[in-house]
């Protein structure tokens, strides 16, 4: 599904990640360990083409990520950051924002489907009419996840996502991904002793 082949990404001539190689099969989950500032986020954002590697190749679904395949990658992959950008005034508009774009215009979801996904993520129905500026970080993350699910995304890149979630919401998010059989990367850190510990292929970055 996602493969890095000796990938180096530079910024202002300095490498942020160097010679990274790993492979995550479809439907799998993986964790990246590393100190803060060691390039974890860069690995994730490189998958979705925020950076062009100065060396090496990123593969997605067996094809090298380049200008011709990047739109396919972006169609299938969701990137959920610590404080996701919702891009609208109210939650409902934020959830429907992608469907104002030409590419998704014919796929606008039914109200019942939105309600179902919100419920699975333990979000109340009345959140739809709340302003995005006043919802908590954890709610923002779940709204962003809900939006990605409405778009039918298959791969989820989670950048310290569950840090803002309480234990219960965390379980809800993890259960949902598990049910749908999505590829999750990196797998959310979960409380020790939990039954749903990640069976992860692990990628460690050279310090």
């Amino acid at each position: 599904m996602i493969r890095f082949d000796t990938v180096t990404v530079e910024y202002d001539g300095r490498p942020i990640i160097r010679d990274i190689s790993f492979h995550i099969p479809k439907g799998d989950a993986a964790v990246i360990h590393g100190r803060s500032g060691s390039g974890k986020t860069t690995i994730l954002t490189t998958i979705v083409g925020m950076h062009v590697p100065s060396a090496g190749t990123v593969f997605f679904n067996g094809r090298a990520v380049d200008s011709t395949t990047i739109s396919e990658v972006r169609r299938s992959v969701a990137f959920i950051g610590q404080e996701p950008v919702l891009g609208a005034q109210r939650i409902r508009e934020a959830l429907l924002l992608p469907f104002t774009y030409r590419a998704n215009r014919n796929a606008t979801p039914e109200e019942t489907m939105i309600g179902e996904i919100l419920h699975k993520l333990r979000l109340e129905d009345d959140i739809l009419d709340r302003e995005t500026a006043v919802v908590s970080g954890g709610e923002k993350q779940r709204v962003a996840i809900a939006r990605a699910l409405l778009l039918g995304k298959k791969v989820f890149l989670l950048d310290e996502v569950t840090s803002a979630l309480d234990a219960e919401s965390k379980q809800a998010v993890i259960r949902l991904f598990r049910e749908e059989g999505h590829t999750i990367f990196p797998y959310p850190t979960i409380p020790t002793g939990s039954s749903s510990a990640p069976r992860s292929s692990e990628s460690r970055r050279e310090p």
Partner: protein, 276 residues
């Protein structure tokens, strides 16, 4: 389209219409600058040097411009007139690049195209259709109108380009989010384009709304001093405002749309090498 009938006094009439200022009087009047200089010194504003350099630059630039325009008006040749108009656009382009913090080598042609198309379309409509001077390239109409339109385009484009690129650069994550939600490059850039065009149009928009309430607009003042009737001066003023507003809208939008093609990489992310 309404036609504006040019007032075309012959040369002698024009001279008698406006009282010339003698060089001696002008030189004496320049002495008035001592008042702000002294005030600055008393208040320790620290602007004396800048005031003196400013006055000197203004005087020299105006002298050169006066000589050049005098020659231009006498000669009134089609190639020279249009060459001068192009030179104005060229200089405006360099100023825009520099003031907006962008590398001239990267976006020179896109900015040139924006200002060129935006201003020349409007100038052509204004001068060739509304005023209809004979000959159509008459320097007396072409040069001042081009100067005003291009000057305003320059100011507007500095604002719009600076705002657009700093907005995209600052909100890189937001931009990526839009792309990941299925937005095309143009759809992802639209919020930043809005954020950039609005402040570029705002000054002209508020000027239009309050025109004539506070002060007499520059072009109108000039024409009245030049001996034109206030009615003629008003028609010109309204037309030039419409011309300026249309030209800055066209040029800023064209510039940003072409900018999408040259300033983003193959992954639709902003290229860092366009900044100075």
């Amino acid at each position: 389209m309404c036609r504006i009938h040019p007032v075309r006094p012959n040369e002698e009439e024009q001279v008698t219409n406006t009282i010339d200022i003698s060089y001696l009087s002008l030189a004496a009047f320049l002495g008035l600058i001592l008042v702000p200089v002294l005030a600055g010194a008393v208040l320790k504003l620290g602007i004396t040097k800048r005031v003196l350099i400013g006055v000197l630059r203004m005087t020299v630039q105006m002298a050169v411009l006066g000589l050049y325009l005098d020659y231009l008006f006498r000669f009134n040749h089609i190639a020279v007139n249009f060459g001068w108009a192009l030179l104005m656009i060229f200089i405006a382009n360099i100023t825009v690049n520099r003031s907006a913090g962008l590398k001239t080598s990267k976006i020179f042609f896109s900015v040139m195209a924006g200002i060129f198309v935006g201003s020349l379309t409007v100038i052509a409509l204004f001068v060739f259709l509304a005023i209809q001077p004979k000959p159509f390239y008459d320097a007396r109409y072409l040069i001042p109108v081009t100067g005003m339109v291009v000057g305003n385009c320059m100011r507007a484009n500095v604002i719009s380009l600076e705002r657009f690129y700093s907005s995209v650069k600052k909100n890189e994550k937001t931009f990526l989010t839009y792309l990941l939600l299925g937005a095309s490059l143009r759809e992802a850039a639209l919020p930043s384009i809005r954020e950039a065009v609005k402040p570029a149009l705002a000054p002209t928009l508020s000027t239009m709304a309050t025109l004539g309430l506070v002060s007499l607009p520059g072009m109108m003042t000039g024409q009245i001093l030049g001996g034109a009737s206030p009615i003629t001066a008003i028609k010109y003023q309204i037309a030039i405002m419409i011309a300026i507003f249309t030209a800055i809208t066209l040029s800023t939008v064209i510039n940003l749309l072409i900018g999408l093609r040259v300033s983003f990489n193959e992954y639709h992310m902003l290229r860092k090498d366009i900044f100075r």
